[in-house]
C-alpha cells in the first residue's frame, strides 16, 4: 500500500474516530483530495473502519459524486434536466466538449478537467446551469462555456469564475455565488421578515406536548409533497420510548424543477434551524441533522456559520435559550448526488454512511429511524412553517389556505414562462392564477410536482394547488405550445432509470421497459396495443415498487396517457400482418452478415 494514500487517509479516518457511520463523509473527503476513491483507498478505509471491502465499494459506486476512477482536478457537471435542455444545455454541452476536446463522461488527457452530466441541480430558474466542483455557474451559453474552459486552463480555481455575485445572501462572503434568489412573490408565512429567536422562545414557553398540539391545530402538513400531518409525525416520534431521538431536515431537494429550499437555505437559515430546534424540543431530541444535497455544497460554510452564531447566541447548544435540560445541536450531513436520498428512509441510510437504499416500512422512522432511534424527517419548508406557527400562533397559520390545506406553499416555477422563480402562494391557488403570475398564459401543459407528479393540461387549469387537487412539493415546470410532451416524458423516464437504486425489480427493470416503450412510440414504431400495455406496465411498477421512487416514476406516462392521449394516438399505427414494427430483421442479422460474409436469404 502506498504511503502517500495512507498519509492522506489516516487523518481523515481518525478525525471521525474510524466511525463506520461517517463513511460517506470520509469518502467525500477522499474524493475531494484525491479526485477519486481508488481500490487501494477502498482497502485501507475498509481496514480502518473494520468493515468489509464491498461495503465501502458499494457506497462509492452508489453516489454520483464519488468515483472509483480518478476525475480531473476540476469536474464540470452540466445540469441535464428537461428545463435546462429547453434552455439550450445541449448546445452548451457541445461547446464544452469541443473546447475541451473530450466527450461527456471523459477527462482531458492532462488530467485537469472532467466533463459530465448531472440531474437537476436546483437552478431551473437560471438555466442552463452547471456545477464546476462546488461552484454554481448559471445562464450558460456556448460563449460562456468557451471562456470558462479558457479560464480554468489558466487557473483551475473555479471560484474565480464567479464575476458578479447574486442577490441577497448569495453575495455573502461565505457563499460568494452568482446564483440569484429570484423571489417573485412573497407571502405572509414563509418569505416574510424573521427575527431569530422569536419563534423558539415562544415554543420553549410551552410544554413539548403543547407545541405538538399547536402544530396539529395549525393543520400543518408535510411540504415535501406527500402531505403527512407534521404534528402527528412528531407525536409518533415522541411516543416511541428510546434513549435518543433525532430530528432530520430533508434538504435533499432533488425533485427536478424544484429550488425553493435553495432559497430558504440561503435567505432563511435561522427560520429553518429554529423550526428544527422547536421540532427537537417537541419530540425530545438532542440532535438535529440537516441532510444537505451535494449540489448545494456551496451553501455549507454559510450554514455552518449561522449555526455557530446561533450557538454563541444560545439558540442551540446546552440549555437552549436558558431552558435547563434542553440541549439541542444541529449538524450538517452532506449528500453526494443521489435523488433517491430525498426519500426519507433512503436519506436515513445515507446519514448512516450507507448506500442510499430505502428501508422497509414498517418500522417507520418515527419508530426506528437514524441508527435505530426514533426520528422525524421533515422538509425544509415544513420546519420553517413550524417555526412560523410558534411565532404567530396556529390560528394565524391556518387562516391561510383551506380547511384541509392550511398555510401557504412555495412554488418553484420554471420552463416556458416569462418570470421563473419562487412564488409563495396560498394553498388553494388555481393553476391558472399561478401561470398568469409567472407569465405563462399560453402554456400547453404544467408539470405539477416534478417528474414524479402530474402532467396537467389546459382543461384542468382551474384546479388548485392543495392536498385535495394537486399536492406538490413545489416543482412547477411549464411547457409551452411548441414542446413535444412525449419528449418530456422520455426525459423524465431517463432520469428515473438513472436514479433508481436498483434494489427492487419493478423499479429497476420496469422503468427501463417504460422508457423503451416511449422510445418505440417516439420512433414512429408504436402500435395501438402499446398504449394499454404501457398503462398496465406503469400500474405494475407503481404497485410493486418498494419506495416512493418506483411508486411515482410511472406518473409521467400515466398522466400523459390520461390527459394527452392524442399525443400518443397520433403516432401509433396498427402493425402490418401482426408483426412488431420495431423488429427489423435486416438490422438483427447485420452482425452475422458481417461475420460470415454472406447475405440473409430471408427478408
Amino acid at each position: 500500500m502506498s504511503e502517500r494514500i495512507k498519509a492522506v487517509l489516516d487523518p481523515i479516518c481518525r478525525e471521525v474516530g474510524n466511525d463506520r457511520t461517517s463513511l460517506l463523509d470520509i469518502l467525500r473527503e477522499v474524493q475531494h483530495r484525491c479526485g477519486g476513491v481508488s481500490g487501494e483507498a477502498v482497502d485501507l478505509i475498509a481496514k480502518r473502519l473494520n468493515i468489509a471491502r464491498v461495503e465501502v465499494e458499494s457506497v462509492v459506486s452508489f453516489y454520483a459524486f464519488l468515483s472509483d476512477k480518478p476525475n480531473g482536478n476540476v469536474v464540470i457537471r452540466i445540469c441535464d434536466d428537461i428545463i435546462d435542455r429547453m434552455h439550450g444545455s445541449e448546445t452548451v454541452a457541445r461547446a464544452f466538449e469541443s473546447e475541451l476536446g473530450i466527450q461527456m463522461g471523459q477527462t482531458t488527457e492532462d488530467g485537469k478537467i472532467s466533463l459530465t452530466h448531472t440531474p437537476c441541480i436546483g437552478m431551473c430558474d437560471q438555466a442552463p446551469a452547471a456545477l464546476i466542483d462546488d461552484v454554481v455557474v448559471t445562464h450558460l451559453s456556448s460563449d460562456t462555456a468557451r471562456s470558462i474552459v479558457a479560464e480554468l486552463r489558466e487557473n483551475p480555481d473555479p471560484t474565480r469564475l464567479v464575476k458578479e455575485l447574486g442577490n441577497g445572501n448569495n453575495a455573502h462572503d461565505l457563499v460568494s455565488s452568482m446564483v440569484q434568489n429570484n423571489i417573485r412573490l412573497r407571502g405572509p408565512v414563509l418569505l416574510a421578515d424573521f427575527e431569530p429567536g422569536t419563534a423558539l422562545k415562544k415554543a420553549l414557553s410551552l410544554s413539548p406536548v403543547e407545541v405538538i398540539r399547536n402544530v396539529k391545530t395549525a393543520r400543518l402538513r408535510g411540504r415535501g409533497g406527500a402531505g403527512f400531518p407534521t404534528g402527528m409525525k412528531w407525536e409518533f416520534t415522541r411516543a416511541t420510548k428510546a434513549d435518543k431521538r433525532y430530528i432530520i431536515c430533508n434538504a435533499d431537494e432533488g425533485e427536478p424543477g424544484t429550488f425553493k429550499d435553495r432559497v430558504l437555505l440561503t435567505e432563511y437559515p435561522d427560520l429553518l434551524f429554529e423550526g428544527m430546534t422547536i421540532g427537537g424540543y417537541a419530540i425530545g431530541a438532542a440532535e438535529g441533522i440537516v441532510y444537505l444535497r451535494g449540489e448545494y455544497a456551496y451553501l455549507r460554510k454559510f450554514l455552518e456559520s449561522v449555526l455557530e452564531r446561533r450557538r454563541e447566541e444560545g439558540l442551540i447548544g446546552k440549555n437552549v435559550c436558558g431552558v435547563e435540560d434542553f440541549e439541542f445541536d444541529i449538524r450538517i450531513q452532506m449528500g453526494a448526488g443521489a435523488y433517491i436520498c430525498g426519500e426519507e428512509t433512503a436519506l436515513i441510510s445515507s446519514c448512516e454512511g450507507l448506500r442510499g437504499d430505502p428501508k422497509n416500512r414498517p418500522p417507520f422512522p418515527a419508530q426506528s429511524g437514524y441508527l435505530g432511534y426514533p426520528s422525524s424527517v421533515n422538509n425544509v419548508e415544513t420546519l420553517c412553517c413550524a417555526a412560523r406557527i410558534m411565532e404567530h400562533g396556529p390560528g394565524w397559520f391556518s387562516s391561510h389556505g383551506t380547511d384541509r390545506s392550511a398555510g401557504t406553499k412555495l412554488l418553484s416555477i420554471s420552463g416556458d414562462c416569462k418570470r421563473p422563480g419562487i412564488y409563495e402562494v396560498s394553498l388553494s391557488t388555481s393553476l391558472k392564477e399561478i401561470l398568469s403570475l409567472a407569465g405563462a398564459e399560453d402554456a400547453q401543459a404544467l408539470q405539477v410536482g416534478g417528474p414524479s407528479g402530474q402532467m396537467v393540461g389546459r382543461q384542468e387549469f382551474d384546479k388548485t394547488i392543495c392536498y385535495d387537487d394537486f399536492a406538490t412539493g413545489g416543482s412547477m415546470m411549464v411547457f409551452g405550445p411548441q414542446r413535444d410532451l412525449l419528449e418530456v416524458v422520455h426525459a423524465f423516464l431517463e432520469f428515473f432509470v438513472e436514479e433508481s437504486c436498483g434494489y427492487c425489480t419493478p423499479c429497476r427493470v420496469g422503468n427501463v421497459l417504460l422508457k423503451q416503450g416511449i422510445e418505440k412510440i417516439l420512433d414512429g414504431k408504436g402500435e395501438p396495443a402499446d398504449l394499454p400495455y404501457l398503462e398496465e406496465l406503469a400500474q405494475t411498477v407503481k404497485m410493486a415498487s418498494r419506495c416512493g421512487l418506483g411508486q411515482t416514476s410511472p406518473n409521467p406516462v400515466l398522466s400523459t396517457l390520461k390527459r394527452f392521449r392524442s399525443e400518443y394516438e397520433r403516432r401509433v399505427k396498427p402493425a402490418l400482418d401482426g408483426r412488431q414494427p420495431d423488429f427489423d430483421l435486416s438490422e438483427a442479422v447485420a452482425q452475422a452478415v458481417s461475420i460470415v460474409g454472406r447475405e440473409s436469404t430471408h427478408s
Binding site: 396495443a529 402493425a575 400482418d577 401482426g578 408483426r579 412488431q580 420495431d582 423488429f583 430483421l585 438490422e587 438483427a588 442479422v589 447485420a590 452482425q591 452475422a592 452478415v593 461475420i595 460470415v596 460474409g597 454472406r598 440473409s600 436469404t601 430471408h602
Partner: protein, 181 residues
C-alpha cells in the same frame, strides 16, 4: 363442420414444451377428437396449406429462420400462444445476449477448451440460418395473443388452456398449474 386446426413449432427451444404436450397422455386421443393437427413436428407437416385456429410456439427467435417461421405462424394462425419460458423471454438461449455475437461464435467454434478446430473456421454453409444479434422473445417479433409460462408448462396447464380456448371458455388455471417453485 371440420375440426379447428392447430399448428405447433419449436424455434430456439429444446422440444421440452412439445414433450410436455405429449405428456397429456391418453388425453391426446381426446385432443385429436377436438382438433386436427396441422403443421407440427408431431406429424411432420412442413408447411401451411390452411388457416389454423391456434398456433403454439415453443422457443424464442435466435436466427433468421426462426423469424420466418414465426411470421408464417402469425399469418396463418388466428391465435398465437407463446408456450414456455424461451418463447416468453428467450430462456436459456438468451444467456448469450450479454455477449457479443462474434465472441460467442469464436468461443463455441474456435477458442472453447473442448473445441478441436484446426482450421479455426466458423461454420458457414448457406443451409445454416444466420444468427440474430441476440435471442428475441416471440412477442418482440410478432404480436402474441397469450403466454403460457413454465419450463416447460405442465401438461395439465397446456391441456386446460387448449380446451378452454377451443371451447371458447375463459381459462382458469388453478394455482398449482402456474406455480413453479
Amino acid at each position: 363442420m371440420s375440426k379447428p386446426k392447430i399448428a405447433t413449432t419449436s424455434l430456439a427451444g429444446c422440444f421440452g414444451c412439445h414433450m410436455s404436450l405429449l405428456d397429456i397422455d391418453e388425453r391426446i386421443l381426446e385432443l385429436a377428437e377436438l382438433v386436427e393437427f396441422h403443421k407440427s413436428p408431431i406429424n411432420d407437416i412442413k408447411s401451411f396449406s390452411a388457416q389454423c385456429a391456434v398456433g403454439l410456439i415453443e422457443g424464442g427467435c435466435c436466427n433468421e429462420e426462426n423469424v420466418e417461421v414465426l411470421r408464417a405462424f402469425r399469418s396463418n394462425c388466428d391465435v398465437l400462444i407463446s408456450v414456455g419460458d424461451c418463447a416468453i423471454m428467450g430462456g436459456i438461449p438468451a444467456m448469450r445476449n450479454m455477449i457479443p455475437l462474434e465472441e460467442c461464435l469464436q468461443e463455441a467454434f474456435v477458442d472453447g477448451p473442448t473445441v478441436h478446430n484446426p482450421t479455426r473456421a466458423i461454420p458457414n454453409d448457406v443451409e445454416i440460418p444466420l444468427l440474430l444479434d441476440k435471442v428475441y422473445p416471440c412477442h418482440e417479433v410478432v404480436k402474441i395473443d397469450y403466454h403460457l409460462p413454465g419450463c416447460p408448462p405442465p401438461a395439465d396447464t397446456l391441456w386446460e388452456a387448449l380446451v378452454a380456448l377451443l371451447n371458447n371458455k375463459p381459462i382458469s388455471l388453478p394455482y398449482d398449474l402456474i406455480k413453479y417453485d
